[in-house]
């Protein structure tokens, strides 16, 4: 990549910012720092970062609010950083438009993996890929067909929609709410139990061992993640 990837790090802890900055050492990344929500909003506008790492516990504005405001005018990928035990904030931030989350403490490996997934979507082929492959499965979005071991899987319309939606956000977390309002419509936001039943059925068709899923992972209390890379 010729142009350096700009990463906006928003965290009030100088140590964390320093750690994140050092994680992105090298010429392909350029890290910009913000220590509060106001600065973050300003820098998000002026610097046009490619990825934002956003801590939810900010001194001035609530991190969820920051994500919401940025989403009003920008599709820049946002990864929220949360402390353990604040799952509600996490889900709220994801529903407000954040793209993924990392629970502190996390390893550099995890961080880089998440950022790469974000960049693949924005910097890589901007158009949605017509075919998504994971393991021995293949989802052909143009033909609306799903193959497993080269055989066409019989999915119900809802199962197909669920899978297609997760494929659109491949390797990113999708919340219950996102899935419900996309597949069933806005009125069904709270019917998580229906979602679970369909997910179970879908998993039984896709996975070799549904109790040890390789592709459709449950993120407890948050939603699901379709893993396409091993």
């Amino acid at each position: 990549m010729s142009i350096a990837v700009k990463i906006l790090v928003v965290d009030d802890e100088a140590q964390i910012r320093k750690f994140l900055k050092s994680s992105f050492a090298g010429t392909e990344y350029k890290v910009i720092e913000a220590e509060d929500g106001q600065t973050a909003l300003r820098l998000a506008g002026t610097e046009m970062p490619d990825v934002i790492l956003l801590d939810l516990g900010l001194p001035d504005i609530d991190g969820v609010e920051v994500a919401k405001q940025i989403r009003e005018w920008s599709q820049v990928p946002i990864i929220v950083l949360t402390a353990r035990g604040h799952e509600d904030d996490k889900v709220e931030a994801l529903d407000a438009g954040a793209d993924d989350y990392l629970t502190k403490p996390f390893s550099v490996k995890e961080l880089m993996a998440r950022v790469k997934v974000m960049l693949r979507r924005t910097l890589g082929s901007a158009a949605a890929e017509p075919v998504v492959e994971f393991g021995d499965c293949k989802l052909d979005l143009a033909a609306r067909l799903v193959y497993k071991k080269d055989e066409v899987l019989k999915l119900t319309p809802i199962e197909y929609k669920l899978l297609a939606f997760m494929a659109k956000y491949a390797d990113k977390v999708v919340t219950h709410k996102m899935l419900l309002s996309d597949v069933w419509g806005p009125g069904y936001d709270f019917e998580v139990q229906y979602l679970r039943v369909h997910m179970k059925n879908l998993r039984h068709k896709i996975e070799d061992e549904p109790a040890n899923p390789q592709f459709i992972l449950t993120e407890a209390g948050v939603g699901y993640r379709l893993v396409t890379k091993g």
Binding site: R84, G85, E87, P105, K154, T156, I158, V192, Q193, Y194, R196, V197, H198, M199, K200, N201, R203, E209, P210, A211, N212, P213, Q214, L217, T218, E219, A220, G221
Partner: protein, 672 residues
């Protein structure tokens, strides 16, 4: 309408302005009477005895004059009725002067209003029409009209059910029949056998018969019997028979004796009967109070007590209630909403507040904020809170008669006591929790200070070495980095586990339970542990018909992760870990089984206690909290956890979490 006025009963020369009227009184009219009064409204259907007595009680308690208003109806001329009514009223409340005012019923409310203004009537006492027997529709309407009227003074409505049936009015005809029949039978028997049997025997027969009969009939009938009996005796037994003449004047003595004995027996019987009745009423009240007391003792929340109190009060008095509690330095908490909105009735709010702050009764029927819809009774409590029981007299405006007030007062005391008990219990629980928290904190502190110090010491040491010694050989450098990283992870785990156990053991944890598939729960934990499972074999064995479980997915996930993590940690690489889920009656059992060295038998009992750790040859660094978390999680979900060594001949440990199975109907979805 006939008005009897004023009955001078009990005087109170209070000069306060009329509490229900915003407009000034007609001074000249008001000047005619000396004190504010209470009017009892009587109709053809009224039970005058109980109604007037009740009104009299109300008037006496409040120190007011009593006026009687008789309402005319369409069923015929009043002339004959009027005399009866007046007599009845006079009999109960003496010295009632009467007025007679003819009323057009269309203007009934207005007429009563004029009368109330004229005599400064502050309260009306009336009787709820009897719905169970025939009652004139206009009468129901008329009572409703008075009750609902905005201009009239508040009303005390005496429920018809409370009415005591006047003894002697019931079965009057049958009483007389029995009496006459018995006397007639004995007289005829006496007339036939008077030559064979001595007179004394006949006399005794009469006395015996009257004694038996008087216990079964009303007082008036039996007194009448006492007089009839000597006459019958004279006619049947004293010569010359069938006349009132006496051959022997001494025979008079027999007759007088018979009369006296019979009257004494009547009086005694009457006393016994009255006493019995009184005892029965007392007994009923006592048992009602006993039941309430007993029930209250079994309730452990303010809400439950409120429901119970509501039910019992409804049983006795058909009224809506509200309950308020105010803890020291806090806002008023509403435990039960009444049908009166505090925000829209400032009078009620003021009455409630003064009842809470001063511990006095307020509201309708009292001197304090009598315009309020409800009556506010203080709950007598010496604890650190104040309580208030509000009673709203049904859908109408009205106050409560004294016997109901007494019951309400007693109920109030009982509820207050129950609240007080709950207050103490809560305080006790909080104190216990505090002690547990303190104990936990102490244990934590001891352990944490050790567990934190160890990794911190090595991290600091190695970090210093790296910073100060630039010539450290490369392989040593790598080893140092690795140690620092491992120790830092250990610290992280410790802190996370500490946070978890603190959260799980705090009394205020709210579980976000959902019905979950066991397969998905296991899948989530397993996929999360996949990196650590690299060197172990994993077998999943989930029964086909496994029921669902209701869990907080996030919290439960931690328990499973800890169990799998434990199995990884305490078994050498290459071992097999089996996660098994099966049904055991009403339980779902999830087991994590390994084929490692197993658990040391002597430690199994204490394995779920905090800071228990086993050292088994190889170096294991844990926080000693992992299994304590598992136990706390299982118990929070109404389940339990067990540890044992495998009993199937293989070596290895087995941990079983049992959760209540959820028998949910499967959600119907298309599955093609």
């Amino acid at each position: 309408m006939v008005i009897l006025a004023p009955a001078t009963l009990s005087m109170s020369n209070s000069n306060q302005t009329s509490p229900y009227l915003d407009r000034p009184l007609d001074k000249s009219a008001a000047a005619r009477v000396s004190a504010p009064g209470i009017a009892v409204i009587i109709t053809r259907e009224s039970n005058i005895e109980s109604l007037v007595r009740e009104a009299l009680n109300v008037a006496e308690i409040r120190g007011r004059l009593l006026y009687a208003i008789l309402v005319e109806d369409d069923l015929g001329p009043l002339v004959d009725q009027e005399a009866r009514w007046k007599n009845e009223v006079y009999r109960i409340a003496h010295k009632v002067k009467s007025d007679h005012i003819k009323l057009n019923r269309a203007n009934l409310v207005e007429n009563i209003y004029d009368y109330c203004v004229q005599f400064d009537i502050r309260l009306l006492v009336l009787e709820r029409p009897n719905k169970r027997t025939f009652s004139l529709p206009w009468e129901t309407n008329f009572v409703q009209k008075i009750i609902n009227s905005e201009v009239l003074p508040p009303s005390v409505v005496i429920p018809f059910e409370e009415r005591q049936v006047k003894p002697g009015q019931k079965h009057v005809a049958s009483d007389w029949l029995l009496l006459i029949g018995v006397i007639l039978a004995i007289s005829i028997f006496g007339a036939i056998t008077r030559d064979q049997i001595p007179k004394a025997f006949h006399l005794l027969t009469f006395i015996l018969a009257l004694t038996i009969v008087s216990s079964r009939i009303s007082l008036i009938t039996s007194v009448a019997g006492s007089f009839i009996a000597p006459i019958a005796f004279k006619l049947a037994h004293v010569a010359p028979y069938g006349t009132f003449l006496f051959e022997d004047p001494r025979q008079w003595l027999n007759l007088i004796g018979l009369l006296t004995v019979s009257l004494i027996i009547n009086t005694l019987t009457w006393q016994v009967k009255t006493g019995l009745k009184e005892t029965q009423i007392q007994e009923r009240r006592k048992s009602a109070l006993f039941n309430l007391t007993r029930d209250l003792l079994q309730k452990n929340s303010l809400e439950e007590i409120a429901s119970l109190a509501e039910a019992h009060i409804r049983d006795v008095i058909d009224s809506d209630i509200a309950l308020f509690v105010q803890y020291e330095g806090q806002e008023v908490t509403t435990i039960r909403h009444g049908n009166v909105d505090m925000d829209s009735s400032p009078e009620d709010r003021k009455a409630r507040d003064i009842c809470l702050s001063q511990g006095i009764e307020a509201g309708i029927g009292t001197q304090v904020y009598p315009l309020a819809y409800g009556l506010y009774l203080s709950l007598q409590s010496k604890n650190n809170f104040k309580g208030c029981l509000a009673v709203y007299p049904g859908s109408h405006r009205g106050t409560f008669p004294p016997d109901q007030l007494r019951i309400l007062d007693t109920f109030g005391s009982l509820i207050g006591l129950a609240f007080e008990r709950i207050g103490f219990e809560t305080a006790q629980r909080e104190a216990d929790q505090k002690i547990r928290d303190t104990n936990l904190q102490n244990t934590l502190l001891r352990s944490v200070s050790h567990d934190l110090k160890t990794p911190l010491t090595s991290i600091t040491g190695y970090a210093n070495q790296l910073a100060e010694d630039p010539n450290l050989p490369a392989e040593l450098r790598v080893e140092t980095y690795t140690t620092i990283r491992d120790q830092a992870w250990r610290l992280t785990n410790l802190v996370n586990n500490l946070l978890s156990i603190t959260k799980l053991e705090s009394a205020h944890l709210d579980l976000d339970t959902e019905v979950m598939f066991v397969e998905e729960l296991i899948g989530t934990a397993v996929s999360q542990m996949r990196p650590q499972l690299e060197h172990h074999k994993l077998i999943l064995d989930i029964a086909e018909d496994i029921p669902d479980v209701a869990v907080d997915a996030l919290i439960f996930n931690q328990a499973l992760v800890n169990l799998i993590g434990n199995a990884i940690k305490y078994t050498p690489a290459g071992c097999t870990i089996t996660v098994k889920a099966q049904r055991d009656k009403q339980w779902v059992q999830i087991s994590v089984i390994d084929d490692g060295p197993g658990l040391p038998e002597e430690g199994i009992d204490s394995i779920f206690e905090k800071f228990t750790r086993f050292q088994q040859g190889h170096k294991v660094e844990g926080t000693g909290l992992g299994l304590a978390i598992v136990k706390a999680v299982a118990e929070l979900h109404g389940g339990n956890v067990m540890a044992c060594n495998r009993s199937d001949g293989h070596s290895g440990a087995e941990f079983d979490i049992r959760l209540p199975a959820v028998e949910s109907a499967p959600i119907d979805v298309e599955t093609s």
